[in-house]
Symmetry: D3
């Protein structure tokens, strides 16, 4: 496929893109037209349909994948697509991965690795709780693999929730062997569930935006509720164990001002908070480096890190 | 009954007190004895059983109401009870109100007033949710009337949860008529439920201390979960309405650093936060004045109010 | 009258507007012209006088109401008025309310209500102090009714100071009956005077901007001084009462970092702070909703509330 | 005179001390006695009157200077005075300086120096305002020389207000020559007036404690009011100048959270804040060194300086 | 050996203890005596030499190991040793480990492990720098193995600096494999050096207290200086590499308010900060659990963790 | 010379400017050209070389002083220089002072004054240390006189480091006579060295930007290291004195959150912090006034001073 970043002025294209935004407007002369923002994984492109009612222009909605025919022009220093023909693309005609930011890593392999961690949990109730989501729930694996862990910031891409969850789980696994006082089963389970509320806090791609529920409750509360509801379906699930697990989820941001209603009171909650923080910060930094234009080692002041950031030189 | 504050040195008493604490110890000579802390609503009293195995001393536990016979002595400037005989008192022999700090107001009248507010809620799902707890749940009214709203600080007495809930609800009622943009039904419902999680966060009197669940989850999370579980039992309860109500509960502390995982995003959540804060602060101040010894108008520096506090003079 | 929001390109108008700003400039060709910003309550309009010295253009100043004749043109996507004739309008030709943001409520009714509260104050010195401003001082009522309570933020409109003062007073009235320890006379008086310093901190409409005195001293200090000076004119006004009243004014922002030089030390100062905060925040939120374009329930992140804000749904 | 620090067990004394505290009590046997705390500048002494009604014991009150005859005994490791005879001392029999903490410096010389600064102010209204207090007001000089600048912390001794005022004024004088943009007359005047409100915020020695007015209003507000009232008595005193001067007083703590209702907006207000802070901190440190027992160079953690503090070694 | 915790009243002992403190005093009768505090790893013991000049009492100093003969008595509820004979013990007569808090882990094995990490560093200058301290410097290994990492808080025991350094290094090693963008050589080197300044900030055991240099400069500055001085002795050590390494040391506390003069600007500095924080917090929690008396799962409010802390239950 | 601020449209100029920035670009037609930013002390000017390869255009680099011939045109409301001929200027052809912001004061006189302070230091090691930099080091005086004290903020001009250092030293001299407990020699030495690290933290003019070392270590650490290295070259320099001096440098920002790794623990460190802060803030304010356009006394909100700032009126 011809990616947006590869387009050149003057060429005629015939391609499928994701329609990110769609707005109706009037020309100065009072004639209606449509203004679109098209997207693929390499960037976005302004596009116009000057003749919305014409024969070749089918109906479509925002967030549809659309097959367009048109000419690449230039307007005020940026490219613009003048659309002549348009139809909704069928599933199968396109690969969503071409249109969305994606994890660099193999999503299926990561899910396998996560299942391995689940199988290493020996406490039966925790194991059952984990499997009820990750193994037994229809469609869960697919949804979990596709979700992002953020609207922007770190891991805001397809597979991001899985990649972050796995990163935190591995870090917790390291902690469990380094600090023997930790209960590995509780810690691994908490790590795997810690951001599960993001499945409802953020809508799925391509929208990947906060839901109404997400804004009102937040993924911490939603995640604790998901675990609570499911544990309630497992006969005999110990109440104290449910509370400890929910506590780890509630406290994983570490500080009240970061949205945790409780500070860590258990060693596992503290370890989860440290692991989550480490994975989030390292990935945030990685994305900062990745997105820099490379003209300078010093990347400029980062508000997140409250410092000018620099690549380390060759040693 | 003869209250602890009324005892004088040398008298023999025959009275029922609450046994707040109980510890076994050894005299210097190596002889075992029992050291107790007795309590009624006027204060506490140190007591000793020098002969724990003797005939007149029955078995009992901490937090039992016990009938004791003994002599009031003085040790290092404080009274001490030398217990000769002891037995567990039967329910009916004593009034818990004599042993616990209580609201100045009539608990039953306040509950009536609260039911009046419930009947003023016209939105059917909210009304049903309220009634399922306050009207239909067996034993709920009794438990709610007896509970405190805090371990110490404000409203830390029998009936305190009810008094505070009613105070907040009335303040919200005022807001609803003063600021017409507020949805009165949602606001009144949220006010009545806002601290319901305290029923599980704090154990009932006479213990009135944080429970394990309370420390791990906190009354905000517990309250939201109680509402969630009950709403799930009401067919057709709208998900958005449940989320709005839970949001009000989650956000009622107003700031993340005060333990709310979300800041108020709805007008009703903001109003609830303002009403809760006002009732809590006014009552905290009232208790400060009540507990001062009255020797000076200026009460000294209060850490809660970050100021020296003074009674207002006669005008 | 033809409001600015109703103008269309190409029409010739003959209307009175408020001249908010006036600047002399030179065209590229070096010819002098005048650039104005006109205002009415529906918005602002850029205007040009290309021929300042011509016959039909009379003298005028910034903040004058001016009668203009001219053509509506369009420049860089915005309307512009090309002024042909201009004269200062006479008082009586226009209604200031048409040109300034105004309270939705009836200003005279609100003042009546405030006078009712004043009459309810029974402590003679406080009553006398209140009446010396609100009843006896020539021109005070007119000035007080016309003033805003802010340059922007909440209650920044004609009648805003009165509306906010009344809102706070009513809330204090509620507190006085809900919490009997409060001295109602002191509290009501403090509520009515709490923002009186804004009469000098902000210049009157149409300017409605910080005065030199306002920036140097602030309305808290100015208000306390106004009360001090007037109390000094009332023979026998008790010094302690004056200090208590001034304390309420000084402390009404509640926190040192919000500009109060003292934290509340009296119950009435605390109640006033709670009432002021509640009225300010509820009105701020109301204005946020009112000014939103209505395209979405979620209004976006509000820096004041540190949260995305949303309208409550229909229940 | 025989100072408290010089007493030895067993001696009979006949001396005048300040009676700092006085309390009536009962012996275990139920006999009334008086318990006093006596004070001179070297320390305090516990004293008892076992026979309050006896012939040689005259009437007296707390904070009286009293002539006592009695025996020095020892009780629980501390000296105690057993008073046999007691009468109120007459003014003239004692020197207050012997009983109160005093400035090391000559109070009269310092006042002379301050008058010199006043004479250096050339702006007539400011000069007149200064002289109306420091030169013309009857009793002002005496009061100002005797006052402290604090209840405890820095300059909490007789002459402390004068010493601190002079220190700040000198520092401002340095600033005025170092930074020519400063208006020396305004700055010197503001420096001399900056803490004048302490005359009312703190009661005079020997009490030296916060007054009711002081707690309700604070010395910043009181000082601004004093300047306001006096300026009002000087015909033609320019309003803007009064506001600038009051602004300097209001802003001299530099930060809202330190009790200034306004941050410095004028260069002179900034300079005054810097000078005040420098003199206060240097003196606080000096008192810390002076009060240390000298056993170690490191004095231990100081909460004011948030650091362990050490004397500088010999270089 | 007979440990302090094992002593019983009335026995005569003949044992070596560490003399933690030594003070000369006078009895009430004016006779000189010596008051000592003796220490071993199980606790401390008050001791008296009532006849300091007698034959059997040799000269000795604070922090000497002393062989004492004496009787165990009881005074005000605590044991006291009445010393009859005393001499300084010779090195070899005692094991310092018996007298000081020690790491639970094998110090020599940990040092071996650390050397293994040093050998894994491939960048020649960094390797040389590490070896110059840990391998080549005479006496360094002994000193490093014996040092603590804190006066109190976490790792405040013999071997503590080594145990913490190794813990941080291992965590960094984990990060280096989990986040490939990290330069492992720089990160491992920085981890090993990060707290090296504690060798001078804290005096060695048994004193283990802040040195003058430590208080004036802090271990961060001292550590950077040690690395700077040593790098200056290695011909050709790249200046940029030295700066990166020093930056990691300077920034390892992560926040300015925790004493780092720079926030992390390099990925390795960030990783080191995360690893240091994780090891410090996990160990702090471990020590909290270890030092609790075990009567309750909830250990009470911890100021460090700003939460009540609880052991996790059996799962 | 013809300054940039004096250029008019249409003239041809022949002048030397500093080339601040240089970028290669392509016209829409694909033809390469050079885009420059020229600078003198009156401002900056956009310039283009449309024919980079032509005969009259010599080679040059960013930050070269270049002699240009060209025409002043106007583009989008700003002047632009169309360069026809260009060559690198020779040293001697231009005065750097014409191209860079400079101190208003005489740099040589200020250096003399600083040397006077150095000669007033009587402690031999400190005197020797000072002279080793300011008197004996080749090229040091020239470098120190030319350096700025900041990239922007206060004293960000040629001679700024010297001017600020002298201002702080004078203020410290005032403190030394006002507060006799201060050790003048240590204080004056610390004042002179306090910002010496800026010589490496910032590159010299015309670049005047943070260096790599500056960003990684900061001027506080660099300055302490410079003093450490030099003291190491002076035989017998007392270690304690070096530590005290380095402490003053480390602590001169006064607060950890301002980048000092230690809070002031010595009186001299505290005095230096106060002096540095005073000079920095007064100069910052002076520059604010200087850079204002003078249309209003109130300059608008200053984020540094957290206040609207105003010039003081004529008194």
């Amino acid at each position: 496929m011809k990616y947006i970043a590869q387009l050149t002025e003057g060429e005629r294209i015939n391609e499928i893109y994701l329609c990110r935004k769609k707005q109706s407007a009037l020309t100065k002369a009072g004639k209606p037209y449509e203004s679109l923002m098209l997207q693929d994984k390499t960037g976005t492109l302004d596009a116009k349909i000057w003749d919305p009612g014409s024969l070749g222009i089918d109906d479509f909605d925002e967030l549809d994948y659309i097959a367009v025919t048109g000419d690449v022009t230039s307007f005020q220093g940026a490219y613009q697509l003048n659309i002549k023909r348009l139809r909704k693309a069928q599933q199968g005609e396109y690969l969503p991965e071409d249109y969305l930011p994606c994890s660099d890593k193999d999503v299926d392999l990561m899910y396998e690795e996560l299942l391995g961690f689940i199988q290493s949990v020996r406490a039966p109730y925790l194991r059952q709780l984990l499997e009820s989501f990750f193994v037994q729930e229809e469609g869960f694996a697919k949804k979990f693999k596709f979700h992002s862990a953020a609207k922007s910031v770190h891991h805001g891409f397809v597979g991001g929730l899985l990649e972050h969850t796995l990163g935190v789980t591995k870090n917790c696994d390291y902690f469990a062997q380094a600090y023997p006082m930790l209960d590995r089963d509780l810690l691994i389970t908490a790590a795997i569930f810690h951001d599960i509320g993001k499945l409802s806090e953020l809508s799925a791609f391509p929208r990947n935006d906060y839901t109404d529920e997400g804004q009102l409750l937040g993924h911490i509360m939603i995640g604790a509720e998901m675990v609570h509801d499911r544990a309630g379906e497992i006969p005999g699930f110990p109440e104290q164990l449910e509370n400890e697990l929910k506590h780890c989820i509630l406290a994983h941001h570490g500080e009240l001002e970061y949205g945790s209603p409780k500070k860590p009171a258990l060693a596992e909650a503290l370890a989860l908070n440290l692991a989550d923080n480490a994975d989030a910060r390292m990935e945030t930094l990685r994305e900062l480096f990745e997105n820099s234009d490379g003209t300078s080692d010093w990347l400029g002041y980062s508000r997140i890190f409250e410092s000018n950031i620099r690549r380390t030189g060759e040693i």
